[in-house]
């Protein structure tokens, strides 16, 4: 069991570093056991070296930097052990405009191998989606309208069956 864990751990740690470097263009991340070479002893720790800064434990990062680190980990875990569907609610709340765009791009890339349902308040995020569900509330009741991004204005109705 320990060897399986350590093999999996190595794959994830390597992928996390790769994802974080891609997402932050120059930052670096390390997933390390608290006790060297023994993840079972005290668990694992995530250290981040944001772009051009010294290595830091994650508590010392800004809100946006923590968000990017978390998402790099989620994508790394997906690479190691994929899940078919992801639900994400306002993952970009703490991101500046350029990071909102960047993370939306990464989700779009990941969406080639999994289905994503993403809630966001940031316009830059919606530029990347394939399909949108617009929600509004009138007199205390929510209404939903599904629209295809490529055919804006063409609503998608399940019983009308277009486009699937």
């Amino acid at each position: 069991r320990r060897t399986t864990f350590e093999a999996g751990f190595d794959v994830i740690a390597k992928k996390l570093t790769e994802m974080y470097q891609m997402i932050t263009l120059g930052g670096d991340a390390r997933l390390e056991p608290v006790v060297p070479n023994d993840p079972f002893e005290k668990g694992v720790n995530l250290s981040i070296r944001p772009h051009e800064k010294p290595w830091k434990p994650i508590q010392h990062l800004s809100g946006g930097e923590k968000t990017l680190s978390s998402l790099a980990l989620v994508f790394a875990l997906h690479h190691y052990k994929p899940t078919p569907i992801y639900f994400m609610d306002e993952i970009d709340a703490a991101l500046d405009e350029s990071n909102v765009t960047r993370i939306a791009e990464y989700v779009k890339m990941q969406a080639r191998s999994a289905q994503f349902l993403v809630i966001s308040l940031r316009n830059n995020c919606f530029e990347k989606v394939d399909r949108m569900v617009g929600i509004c509330k009138r007199q205390g009741c929510s209404h939903a309208l599904t629209v295809d991004a490529r055919e804006l204005g063409a609503t998608v109705d399940d019983d009308i069956d277009m486009p699937p």
């Binding site: 751990f9 994830i12 968000t67 978390s70 569907i85 966001s120 509330k137």
Partner: protein, 172 residues
């Protein structure tokens, strides 16, 4: 596996029967003003996936039933339609092909009396049946890494080393 559509009946802020979807097999966005009901859509999925009421931001299942000045139904029901697909090459207009006969649906009804009933393909089932069926299709509900609730994302990377174990060790 993909979710094709979800039907909300008197669930939280959704009065009557509301259909969301057909979804894309790739990236779907849910947008709208504050308080319009976006997170409630996620709660609808958690509800069908047999998560406790506390995780759906309510203390009791009865609170999930829609109530407003114009409407006080006795129960709420959510139905999720799934299908298995095969990806098609990029030049294909649809992008995927549905695996013949792979469609299935999971539903859950909650009453104002706090009762809860599950259905698979519209036939009554137990909660264990549902979690088993979902696991068969690749959705493992024992860990939560496919789910990032509002306000949670910053904490994922900050999780303490040993516990909670979901973070890394739990699922390896």
């Amino acid at each position: 596996l993909m979710i094709r559509k979800v039907t909300l009946e008197n669930f939280k802020s959704y009065s009557g029967k509301k259909i969301l979807g057909t979804f894309s097999h790739r990236m779907n966005g849910i947008l709208g003003p504050n308080g319009s009901g976006k997170s409630n859509v996620l709660d609808a999925f958690l509800f069908v996936f047999a998560k406790k009421a506390r995780k759906i931001r309510m203390n009791r299942v009865a609170e999930l039933v829609h109530h407003s000045s114009s409407s006080q139904p006795d129960s709420a029901k959510v139905t999720v339609d799934f299908q298995e697909i095969v990806d098609m090459p990029d030049d294909d207009p649809v992008g995927y092909r549905v695996v013949e006969g792979s469609e299935f649906r999971i539903s859950r009804r909650a009453g104002k009396d706090n009762s809860s009933t599950y259905y698979i393909n519209d036939r009554q089932a137990t909660m264990a049946n549902v979690t088993h069926a979902l696991r068969q299709h690749g959705i493992d509900l024992t860990h939560n890494r496919f789910l990032i609730l509002q306000g949670e994302v910053e904490q994922i990377a900050a999780m303490k080393p040993k516990a909670p174990n979901d973070h890394d060790e739990g699922f390896l």
